[in-house]
């Protein structure tokens, strides 16, 4: 296969429509069609019993069409929302209802939906609805959840939703026998995905057809479709879901079905009018989902070289009010905490706790940042205890290049064994040390100190299981005009899928890139898919697209061989033309092959004539459509790997602390990462940049501030500090390693989350290196650092 596009920084096909203002995001859809708009009454209280809902005032508002409360739901729609990923350890899983059923468990939970002529009127009506509450005690923070003075759910007396212990080897004996032991406590606080476009749903019911079309700003059109069909009692083929242009996801939009994804279609069906809902920013803060909040206790036993003989981790995960996504985040922490290392023995135990706060579901990294923080801070602490270089201690613990595939003897988040397929961590370490100038740094730090400046360096390593299954699929079809239509089932939120999958098809099929059109996230075009998350799109759909393109190519060569009376082995496809290798005068256009691949009775245009029954002599004993084949030059193929493939990376940063104000400035930020084969290096770099930006944001700026009553105090962009350009370093120095994955046809590993995973660990380490202060809790603000330094001075 001639590689012309894969591996190139091809400019994106998405860009033209997006830079000209012709993107179609969910709120852009259905203008001028009499679409009604929804708004919600949401609980102002973190924990309350609903005594009465008086909608009288709302009915007076001009333009109100309908008001719904729990009483108006029926059948499956009135049942609790699903637990998407059940797990035996989730012994007390709880979910909410599409509209609150008697009790609310977090401020922001939906109680009533108003549908009106426009959003302004819907909000007026919502404001006029009077709800009578009996306020119940709030439970905020892991300490309060553990203490269980009050419960979030009446029937979960200890506030524990799940408890899981996994063990590899005899940790207790190894710990007892270890020459050295350490204990540490580490904490990461709550944050969230915060895409620039919130959630949005637009639903249309076709009464003539008995069918429903829903647009949703989601990361999984197929699963939302299944959920809507189930909840509204519709046959699956009568529901279509489309994820149009989506303004960022970062994990929050893989969670589904949101109450609004059920209620807005329900209203559209009942009112026989299109209905839409566009989440505003305040709603997003208090009724989407959050993540990251965990407290970890670590005990580690190690030898004189810093090799870990026993690693014993227990942690608490704050899952908020409900567990609709199961316990994926703490499972990811548990397994990915191991990073590139092979501790002698390992035990990890977690409890997932309820609090009366917004539900927790994955945010980019999905538990890995916490795991990396725990492991990397531990490595640093070991190095400090032994007086050894922090990279030497890490190197002593690496899985070696000749040890792959490496079995960590645990079960990963995909339910499959945690077996790393490929990687070269020592080489990666060499690269990152070189890029950041690790060995020269002590001299630099000393020279700065002589001038009264505080400089520090930190390093962090991670391994990321990417491309979990169970599968993805692709449909590739060559049309009779020579263009190629590709459809994949998963969705896009800016990753350039329409470009990268076109690159793969162009190379695999041998057609010009410009002729390939890719559709994502549209159940009308592709019905079986999982979704976009866990850095899986390139691995899963990329592989499926390659397989489908190969199938199409194989068929094209069969049909062409027949038409040219040549041998298949002698044929190749170049720029959309099937030619005999070495004799390009004997050729047939792929467009024509597409025509011939579909034997016709009726010619609807000139090109089609060639496929009709009298156009060519035919073998009277062979059926026009051969056994085992289908008409048309198309194929639907699936990629379903035995397990995930393991990307990895290392980050290093140099920070400077203002000795007076304790402000933290990132002097340099360096990344080396391995995501196997790169389809589009420009897009991968963009993913890493964006991930690092979110990682820095999470390390130094972003947190969610709940008070003891369960009120989110910083529910706006004024106080939730997403960084502008001015808060981020000038540039990210990016180094690249490629250890292809043996698990998929193109050797791809995922890259979507690479940038975010180790950042808190790296920056904590660098600040610690600069100040000598133990940093055990992130994020870290100048004010917090000032206090830590002051306490340290007085101590």
């Amino acid at each position: 296969m001639a590689t012309r596009y894969v591996g190139q920084g091809v400019q994106r096909v998405e860009d033209r429509r997006l830079v000209t203002g012709h993107g179609r995001y969910t709120d852009d859809i259905g203008g001028g069609t009499g679409t009604l708009e929804a708004a919600f009454v949401r609980s102002p209280h973190a924990h309350a019993r609903i005594l009465d809902i008086d909608v009288g005032g709302a009915l007076d508002v001009d333009g109100v069409v309908a008001i719904y409360t729990y009483e108006d739901l029926a059948g499956a729609a009135a049942e609790p929302l699903p637990i998407l990923i059940p797990h035996p350890a989730l012994h007390a899983g709880r979910t909410g209802y599409a509209l609150a059923n008697g009790v609310v468990h977090h401020a922001g939970e939906a109680i009533a939906m108003v549908v009106a002529q426009n959003r302004y009127l819907a909000e007026d009506a919502a404001a006029a609805i009077v709800v009578d509450y009996e306020i119940l005690p709030a439970v905020v923070g892991l300490d309060a959840a553990r203490a269980a003075g009050h419960t979030v759910h009446d029937d979960v007396p200890d506030n524990v939703a799940a408890h899981l212990l996994q063990q590899v080897g005899d940790v207790d004996t190894a710990m007892k026998d270890a020459p050295h032991r350490l204990e540490l406590d580490l904490e990461i606080s709550r944050s969230c995905s915060m895409p620039l476009e919130g959630k949005a749903v637009h639903a249309r019911w076709d009464p003539d057809d008995g069918s429903l079309r829903v647009y949703s700003s989601t990361q999984t059109a197929t699963s939302v479709r299944a959920a809507i069909a189930a909840k509204l009692g519709l046959p699956l083929p009568k529901v279509e879901v489309i994820a149009p242009d989506v303004g960022g996801g970062f994990g929050v939009k893989i969670m589904h079905p949101w109450p609004e994804e059920i209620l807005v279609p329900l209203a559209a069906m009942r009112l026989q009018r299109p209905v839409k809902w566009t989440e505003d920013r305040r709603e997003h803060f208090i009724s989407s989902s959050h993540e990251r909040d965990q407290q970890h206790h670590i005990e580690v036993g190690f030898d004189d070289d810093g090799r870990i003989l026993a690693l014993d981790v227990s942690f608490w995960h704050d899952n908020g009010a409900y567990t609709p996504y199961g316990i994926i985040c703490p499972i990811v922490t548990s397994t990915q905490l191991l990073g590139p290392y092979k501790p002698g023995t390992y035990r990890v135990e977690f409890r997932s706790m309820y609090t009366t706060t917004v539900t927790v579901t994955p945010y980019r990294g999905a538990g890995r940042p916490q795991g990396a923080f725990a492991m990397e801070r531990t490595m640093d602490r070991i190095a400090q205890a032994l007086g050894r270089d922090r990279t030497a201690v890490r190197a002593a613990n690496f899985i070696q290049p000749d040890e792959f595939p490496f079995d960590q003897h645990m079960t990963f988040q995909d339910g499959r064994p945690l077996i790393y397929d490929s990687g070269d961590y020592p080489a990666q370490l060499g690269m990152i040390k070189e890029i950041v100038g690790w060995d020269d740094f002590p001299a630099r730090r000393a020279a700065a100190a002589a001038q009264g400046r505080l400089l520090g360096i930190g390093i962090g390593c991670y391994v990321e299981g990417t491309g979990p299954g169970p599968y993805e699929g692709a449909h590739v079809q060559v049309l009779t005009d020579g263009s190629v239509e590709v459809a994949v089932g998963l969705t896009s939120q800016g990753q350039g899928h329409q470009t990268v999958f076109a690159q793969i098809v162009a190379d695999e099929l041998g057609v010009p890139f410009e002729r390939v059109r890719v559709t994502t996230g549209d159940t009308r075009r592709f019905g079986h898919a999982v979704g976009t998350f866990a850095s899986r799109a390139a691995v899963m759909s990329g592989s499926a697209v390659a397989l489908a393109a190969r199938s199409v190519k194989a068929k094209a060569l069969r049909v062409a061989a027949d038409a040219l009376e040549a041998s298949e082995a002698d044929l190749e496809i170049v720029d959309g033309v099937v030619v005999v290798r070495g004799n390009p005068t004997v050729s047939i256009d792929l467009a024509h092959v597409a025509v011939l691949s579909n034997p016709l009775r009726y010619a609807f245009d000139d090109a089609a004539k060639a496929a009709t029954q009298f156009a060519r002599p035919a073998d009277p004993d062979r059926p026009p459509v051969p056994e085992g084949e289908a008409p048309g030059l198309e194929s639907r193929d699936y990629y379903s790997p035995p397990r995930s493939t393991f990307a990895s990376g290392m980050h290093a940063a140099i920070v400077e602390i203002d000795p007076d104000t304790s402000e933290i400035r990132i002097d340099r930020y360096c990344v080396v990462h391995d995501c196997g084969t790169l389809i589009n290096p420009m897009i991968v770099r963009g993913q890493v940049h964006g991930g690092v930006a979110q990682g820095i944001a999470g390390a130094l700026y972003e947190t969610l501030d709940y008070d003891e009553y369960g009120q989110l105090r910083n529910a706006s962009f004024m106080d939730f500090l997403m960084p502008y350009v001015t808060e981020l370093p000038d540039r990210i120095e990016l180094g690249h390693q490629e250890t292809p994955s043996p698990l998929n046809p193109l050797g791809i590993k995922g890259a979507g989350e690479a940038g975010v995973i180790p950042v808190s660990a790296v920056l904590a380490a660098a600040v610690e290196d600069a100040t000598g202060i133990r940093i055990t809790r992130m994020p870290l603000s100048p004010s917090e650092l000032y206090h830590l330094r002051r306490e340290d001075h007085t101590a």
Binding site: G9, Q11, R12, E14, D15, R16, L18, V19, T20, G21, H22, G23, R24, Y25, D27, D28, G31, G32, D62, N118, Y120, M194, P195, L196, E197, D245, V246, G247, G248, F250, T278, D280, R281, Q493, G494, Q495, G496, M682, I683, R685, G686, H689, G690, G691, V692, A693, Q694, S716, F717, M718, M722, Y724, V725, T726, L728, D730, R731, I732, G755
Partner: protein, 161 residues
């Protein structure tokens, strides 16, 4: 009781447009839903993210913080008005070349802002380019490519003139 409406006339992207709207109709909603120009996006409705930035009489403003009725008879340029027919403006072209957008939601706000800023300062230093985009949030790109795009747009403008 129905809310009174006001007849609002604006010159948008060179074309005189009129539509009735209630007083509290934000300029962002007016543009998007009354005039059908959905290129301007709404990210926060409190003026911080910049996705809604349009040019009012040539200067960038947050359309989510303006009521359409307040700017009756004024001139507005949105992202849909930046290209010259099929030809992308230097800023639009530069954003594509530099991979300065991923999901595209914040992009219209950057494009209008940068267009106005470069009109005023056609040869920015990198530091000045950073200043030009310092008031717009992007969640996807990490900004580095956007700064590159500002400088590239300046270069393209010079090439074209």
């Amino acid at each position: 009781m129905t809310e009174p409406t006001h007849e609002i006339a604006l010159t948008v992207n060179g074309v005189r447009r009129t539509h009735a709207a209630v007083a509290r109709r934000t300029l962002s909603d007016f543009l998007r839903h009354d005039l059908g120009l959905t290129g301007t996006h709404v990210g926060c409705e409190h003026g911080v993210c910049g996705a809604c930035t349009v040019l009012l009489d040539g200067r960038p403003v947050r359309s989510c913080l303006i009521f359409a009725v307040s700017v009756n008879d004024h001139t507005v340029t949105t992202v849909e008005g930046l290209a010259d027919g099929d030809e992308l403006s230097p800023v639009q072209q530069a954003f594509g070349e530099c991979h300065a957008l991923q999901c595209g939601f914040c992009t219209p706000g950057f494009l209008t802002t940068v267009t106005a800023e470069l009109a005023e300062n056609p040869r920015p230093t990198r530091e000045q380019a950073v200043d030009m985009i310092a008031g717009n949030l992007c969640r996807c790109t990490g900004y580095h490519n956007i700064v590159d795009a500002v400088l590239r747009a300046a270069e393209l403008s010079r090439e074209r003139s």
